[in-house]
């Protein structure tokens, strides 16, 4: 029954989107972290989504269900913000501190997109559940 696969598909996407929400939370929490060296600074983390292509198990037929998974979590390579603050306790010998490269506006937009996608998948999940329940009452 193809409808049962929908739970796997929507569930995989919901878990992927919640990983995305998690990275947004980490990024926003660490947005103001200050560091002495540029190498130690917190860098914004982003999940990379990938479709689960599994043609071997679909018996040569084209796969109808394609769940999603988080392939990797990558760090943003953008340069850390360097600020001249000689009186700061974390300042290096030259008087500079390094701030994380988290862009708060970008993260907020990311959070909204993730939560909308999550909601879409919940809706798909619920609709499929209703269809299955209706199928169970067939002939009653």
């Amino acid at each position: 029954m193809a409808l049962f696969n929908v739970f796997d598909i929507a569930g995989s996407s919901m878990s992927a989107q919640s990983v995305r929400l998690n990275t947004v939370a980490s990024n926003l929490a660490n947005a103001d972290v200050v560091s002495t060296k540029e190498a130690d600074v917190y860098r914004s983390r982003q999940p990379v989504f990938a479709a689960v292509m599994d043609t071997l198990n679909s018996g040569g037929q084209e796969q109808a269900s394609i769940p999603v998974r988080v392939a990797a979590i990558v760090e943003n390579k953008a340069a850390a913000r360097q600020e001249f603050q000689p009186e700061h306790p974390m300042a290096n010998k030259q008087g500079y501190i390094f701030r994380s490269n988290v862009n708060a506006i970008e993260e907020m937009a990311n959070m909204m997109a993730a939560s909308r996608s999550y909601q879409n998948n919940v809706e798909v999940f619920n609709t499929s559940k209703q269809l299955l329940l209706k199928t169970l009452t067939l002939g009653r």
Binding site: F49, A64, I66, P67, L131, L138
Partner: protein, 131 residues
Amino acid sequence: MPISFDSALGVHEKALALRSQRVEVLASNIANADTPGYKARDIDFKSAMANVEAKSANALARTNSKHIQINNAVNSAEMLYRVPNQSSLDGNTVDAQVEKSAFADNALRYQATITFLDGKFKGMIAALKGE
């Protein structure tokens, strides 16, 4: 006269199988709305249904008990790729609005098919009871 569910239920049984397959494909599209490089897919229900009907019309009959049973189950329909109105830079062609409306439409038609099948079963039950 033996009761054949195949002839009693008619086209609706096959339509239901195709509808549930389409639910799966559209759910995959919505799930992969944020996956880079994912290409949205869909089933052309009309041609898939015509295909299924042609197959069942040309089905081979078993005239001898030694004949091998041929599986006349609904084969999965041909998967087509959606033509995007505006694809995103990461190569993803899922338009969430299009997929959502297609999903809602498909769910409604699935329920319509269920209602038809329900009527068929109720009719059979009424005939069996003979009240």
